[in-house]
C-alpha cells in the first residue's frame, strides 16, 4: 500500500506548485508517459469512460502535452492566458485506495484580475502513481469536474 503521508505530500505539493506557477517543478511530478484526463459528462450522473470513443474535456497521454499547455499559457500568444487567473487549489479527503492509487476532493478558487470575476471549479481527483528512481510520480490523473457548465475557460492550471 502507498504511504498516506507520502501521497498527501505529493498531492498537496502539486496544488501548491500550480498555484505558485512553478510550472517546471509541477511537470516534474508527472511520469513521461503519464495520462492527464478530465472526462466530459454523458448525462446528469455519469462521466464518459472511453476517451477514444467518447468526448473528454481534456485527454492527454504523454507529459509533453502538458509541457505544450504550459508553453501556451506563458507564451503571450493566447489572449485567454495573457493575464493569468489567480488560482487557489484546496485539496482534501485524501484516501489511499489501492497499491498505486489514491483519491482526493478538490476545489479551485479562481480570480480573473482582468474581469474582476471570481468563481470556483470543484470535483474529484483520482491518481495512479508510479515509483521512479525512488520517487513517487503521477502516472495518471483523472479529474472529475462536478460543475461542468464552464464559465468561459477552464485551463489546465485551474482544475
Amino acid at each position: 500500500m502507498l504511504d498516506l503521508a507520502e501521497v498527501t505530500a505529493l498531492i498537496t505539493r502539486e496544488a501548491m506548485l500550480l498555484d505558485r506557477r512553478c510550472w517546471r517543478e509541477w511537470l516534474d511530478l508527472y511520469s513521461e508517459d503519464s495520462v492527464f484526463w478530465m472526462p466530459a459528462w454523458l448525462d446528469e450522473d455519469t462521466t464518459t469512460s472511453d476517451p477514444d470513443a467518447e468526448l473528454s474535456h481534456i485527454y492527454y497521454k504523454g507529459r509533453h502535452n502538458l509541457e505544450d499547455r504550459v508553453w501556451r499559457a506563458t507564451s503571450g500568444m493566447s489572449v485567454a492566458s495573457d493575464i493569468l487567473a489567480r488560482v487557489c487549489h484546496q485539496v482534501t479527503n485524501i484516501i489511499v485506495e489501492g497499491p498505486d492509487s489514491a483519491t482526493a476532493a478538490f476545489c479551485s478558487h479562481i480570480y480573473e484580475p482582468k474581469r474582476q470575476r471570481q468563481r470556483s471549479l470543484f470535483g474529484r481527483y483520482d491518481y495512479q502513481f508510479v515509483s521512479q528512481a525512488g520517487e513517487l510520480r503521477i502516472a495518471a490523473k483523472t479529474i472529475t469536474l462536478m460543475n461542468d457548465r464552464i464559465e468561459t475557460v477552464a485551463d489546465f492550471y485551474m482544475v
Partner: protein
C-alpha cells in the same frame, strides 16, 4: 437608451460600400428581450439531432428563447416537440437533458402525459368538481406549431411559419454535404460540453464565419500544430491542416471564400485536399463513387456553416455542432457536441475526438481565445462615441450576386458569394445575418402590433 427603430441599428448601404451594425445591438438589454421574442421565439430554430431521442419513448430537452422544450419520440416512433411545462401550474415535466419514459407524471400534482404529449390523467379528476368548461379543454402539452426533421437535424418554431425546406433554402445542400459523409448520416459522439461567456450571442454568430481572426487569435494553437507535425510522436493525432494551410498568410491563389444565403445562413470555407490527415480519408473512394469526385472533394474542404439563428456546424480542425443559447444581452450559453459520420473506424474517431478537444473545448487551446475576445468586445461595445462598428466591410468589392464555379459543383445557388486568397477574409457574409435579424425583428414587431 430606448431603441425605437430597430432598423436604425443596421446601416445597410452596399452600393456605397458600407455596412455597419450599431454597437447597441450587442449591449442593449431591452433589445435583447425583443430578440428572444422575435428571433428565437419567432421563427425556425435548431433543436437537436434526431439521434438524441433515437428509441421509442426517449426524449431530450432544450430551450427556445425562454421557453423549455421537450422533443419526444412516441410509441409509434414518431418525433414530436412540445412545451416542457405542465398545463396545470407550469412545472417542468421532463427533467433530464436526455431520458426515457412511456408516461411522464408531473412531480408536483401528478398530472400525467404519454410520450406523444397527451394528457392521459388528471389526479382526482372525478372528485375534483371540475366544470364542463375545464373538462372540455385541451390539457395536452402544447405542441410546437412547426417542427421538422431535415436529414436528422431537428428544427422547431413557437409560431406558425414556412416549410423547413423554404427556411433552409439553398443552404440545405450544405447540411446534405455533412449528412452524406457517413453510412446512415451523422451521430453525436457521446459527451456534451456546455460553456458560457459574458458576451452577446451575436459574437458567436459572427466568429464562426470569421476567417480574419484565425491567425490573430490563435497563434499559440497554430505554433503547437507546427511543433507536433515536426515531432511526429506516435500517440499524437494528425491535424487536417498538416498539408493545406488555407488560412496561412503565405498561402497563394484562391484558397476559399464565402457564401451567403437568404434567411441569414452563411458559409465560410477553405480548400483542403483529399488528404490522409483528414479522418474522412478512409471513405474518400467510396464517397467519390457514390457522389462524384467534386462533391467528395467538398466534403474534405474546411467549412463553417451557420443556419440562422442558432445552429453552427464547424468542420475544420475537427467537426463540431454548436447550439447558441442567448441568456442575456451580455451572457450566452453554448451547447457543443462532436459530430461525426456514423460507422467511421475507431482510429478515425480517435483522431477526430483528440483534435476536437484541443481546438473546440473551453478547456482547450483555441476556443478560450475566442470567447475571451468576445468578452473584450462586450466591454468595448459600450462605446457610444463611435457607435458604428467597422467589422463588416472586408470583401465589399469582391462580393458578387449568386454563386461561382465552386458552388456550381454542389448545384447550390447562394444569394451572394466571395472567392479569394487567404488574406481576403470576407466580412460581407455577416450582412446576411443582420438582414435576417432585421427581417425577423420587424416581422415580430408587426405580429405584436397586429395582436394588440
Amino acid at each position: 437608451m430606448t431603441i425605437e427603430n430597430v432598423g436604425a441599428l443596421v446601416d445597410d448601404r452596399p452600393s456605397d460600400g458600407w455596412f455597419s451594425v450599431d454597437r447597441a445591438a450587442f449591449t442593449d438589454e431591452a433589445l435583447f428581450e425583443r430578440e428572444i421574442r422575435h428571433i428565437f421565439e419567432g421563427g425556425w430554430v435548431f433543436l437537436g439531432m434526431d439521434s438524441q431521442a433515437a428509441e421509442k419513448h426517449s426524449y431530450f430537452t432544450v430551450t427556445i428563447g425562454h421557453t423549455p422544450i421537450v422533443v419526444m419520440r412516441d410509441g409509434e416512433g414518431t418525433l414530436g416537440a412540445f412545451v416542457n411545462a405542465c398545463p396545470h401550474k407550469g412545472a417542468l415535466i421532463c427533467h433530464r437533458r436526455t431520458g426515457k419514459g412511456r408516461l411522464h407524471v408531473c412531480r408536483y400534482h401528478s398530472w400525467s402525459f404519454d410520450s406523444a404529449g397527451r394528457n392521459v390523467a388528471v389526479k382526482g379528476m372525478n372528485a375534483g368538481a371540475y366544470s364542463e368548461e375545464f373538462i372540455g379543454r385541451d390539457r395536452n402539452l402544447p405542441r410546437l406549431p412547426a417542427f421538422a426533421n431535415y436529414r436528422g437535424f431537428l428544427f422547431g418554431s413557437l409560431v406558425p411559419t414556412c416549410p423547413i425546406e423554404e427556411h433552409l433554402g439553398e443552404a440545405r445542400r450544405l447540411l446534405d454535404l455533412s449528412a452524406d459523409q457517413g453510412e446512415g448520416g451523422l451521430e453525436l459522439v457521446p459527451g456534451e460540453i456546455v460553456f458560457t461567456f459574458d458576451g452577446n450571442w451575436k459574437y458567436q454568430l459572427e466568429n464562426c464565419s470569421d476567417a480574419y481572426h484565425f491567425t490573430s487569435a490563435h497563434p499559440s494553437y497554430i505554433r503547437l500544430l507546427d511543433k507536433r507535425a515536426k515531432e511526429r510522436r506516435a500517440e499524437s493525432v494528425r491535424s487536417i491542416w498538416e498539408k493545406d494551410k488555407n488560412w496561412s498568410e503565405e498561402a497563394e491563389g484562391i484558397t476559399g471564400g464565402s457564401y451567403s444565403f437568404d434567411e441569414g445562413h452563411v458559409l465560410n470555407w477553405g480548400l483542403i485536399g483529399v488528404s490522409d490527415a483528414v479522418p474522412l480519408f478512409e471513405r474518400a473512394e467510396i464517397l467519390a463513387e457514390r457522389y462524384g469526385a467534386a462533391r467528395r472533394d467538398w466534403m474534405f474542404n474546411m467549412r463553417n456553416l451557420t443556419i440562422f439563428p442558432n445552429l453552427q456546424l464547424a468542420e475544420n480542425a475537427s467537426s463540431q455542432l454548436r447550439i447558441i443559447r442567448p441568456l442575456a444581452a451580455n451572457k450566452t450559453e453554448m451547447r457543443t457536441f462532436c459530430i461525426a459520420p456514423r460507422g467511421e473506424s475507431a482510429e478515425a474517431r480517435r483522431q477526430r475526438i483528440r483534435n476536437y478537444e484541443d481546438f473546440f473545448n473551453p478547456t482547450g487551446m483555441a476556443t478560450p481565445d475566442d470567447t475571451v475576445s468576445y468578452e473584450d468586445c462586450q466591454a468595448g461595445n459600450a462605446n457610444r462615441l463611435q457607435s458604428w462598428a467597422y467589422g463588416y466591410c472586408r470583401g465589399a468589392t469582391a462580393s458578387v450576386t449568386g454563386g461561382n464555379a465552386f458552388s456550381d459543383l454542389l448545384e447550390m445557388n447562394p444569394a451572394r458569394s466571395v472567392l479569394g486568397d487567404a488574406m481576403l477574409c470576407d466580412e460581407t457574409l455577416y450582412h446576411s445575418y443582420y438582414r435576417a435579424w432585421l427581417a425577423r425583428m420587424e416581422a415580430g414587431a408587426a405580429r405584436e402590433t397586429q395582436d394588440a
